[in-house]
Symmetry: C2
Subunit: 214 residues, 2 copies
């Protein structure tokens, strides 16, 4: 059953301020409400669902509003609902690093190919990973890159589950698959980061008893 | 061999503006330079190394300056160089989510225990992961949580490599181990996020040929 609401109700239901809602509309992230009278606009459940998606991308995924818009526009694209969205969602990685060195790009690419992956030299994920290796080197901690093979194996396990989940949603239509890609890719990072920290603590307690060798 | 430099040289060498350098000093992230004369302060290689570490935490890790300070102070703590730092570095997760529901916390904790992990109900990683499950539910995409077991297995592989790397650095002294925790925990998220996207593309191309089933 569809419900309609004023902007104040939409704000309280979504946890997004009326000011932000108007901003999202003006930025094209959220469709405008229906004008139902003088100084009166009504919003529906679709607006609420969209706002929850925007909040997840911005607050959990850490995407900028501009990046969130790119991802949502791609997800809305009827022509390339899936492939397009996957690419844009992957390009949505916050790029806080400078362009990576060619050496690091080649190093990550070679390791990925040894893992049996198909590699594109300009893939945003490759550039992001290579940028991290450059940071390790700049910090004189190139030794941290010894973890690369384990990270590759783990990424394969996660990506396999991600694509399984996408495949299941293809039957529900391209829109559902696109949303799976958007939400799964962005929120999946936060999920893994949390689990990784739990596992670090559990493993160091197992090895060092107190969790600290000191 | 140690070199000393003026703030302008330090700024160009580190890529951090003189204004930010002064701010980091006033915020306690960076030790003050040595006053060598009227309106003249000298900085050393240790300042440069520290600035590179701060940049990695803030620009790559996405930590706030306040969070970066907490992590660095813990890493500098001579009393609990390792255990303390691990805990603080793990608490450095950008917490963009509201407090998680008890149901999601219990769900992640149970899955982790099935995986054989030792679980603390108030672990920041557990709260972060549970917060993501809540977002999935709010978006009507609880089905995404079917990936949880695979994520747990992958997190174990990564954490095992992380703790290996920490152990190797214990011989180099607690300071090196602490820095390994700080850099490895924060930058490791960015490394994995990049590799995960590479693997997603490689896997979807393998399954869907064009990378898109559409």
């Amino acid at each position: 059953m569809l419900s309609t609401m004023r902007i104040a109700e939409l704000a309280s239901a979504s946890g997004v301020s009326a000011t932000s809602i108007k901003w999202y509309v003006s930025e094209g992230l959220l469709p405008a409400g229906e004008r139902t009278g003088y100084n009166q606009t009504e919003y529906g459940d679709d607006h609420l669902a969209r706002l929850r998606l925007i909040r997840s991308l911005v607050e959990v995924g850490g995407l900028s509003v501009a990046a969130a818009k790119d991802v949502l526009v791609a997800a809305d694209d009827p022509d390339h609902p899936f492939g397009n969205t996957l690419g844009v969602a992957q390009a949505s990685l916050p790029t806080r690093t400078a362009p990576p060195s060619a050496a690091s790009v080649a190093r990550v690419a070679a390791a990925a190919r040894r893992q049996g992956w198909t590699v594109w030299e300009d893939h945003p994920g490759l550039l992001a990973a290579a940028g991290v290796l450059d940071r390790y080197d700049a910090l004189g901690r190139g030794d941290l890159a010894t973890t690369l093979p384990a990270y590759l194996r783990a990424a394969e396990v996660v990506a396999d589950a991600d694509v399984d989940c996408i495949s299941k949603n293809l039957d529900a239509g391209p829109a559902a698959a696109a949303q799976t890609v958007v939400v799964g890719t962005v929120l999946g990072d936060a999920l893994f980061a949390g689990l990784r920290r739990m596992a670090q603590t559990s493993e160091s307690v197992r090895r060092f008893d107190s969790g600290s060798p000191a």
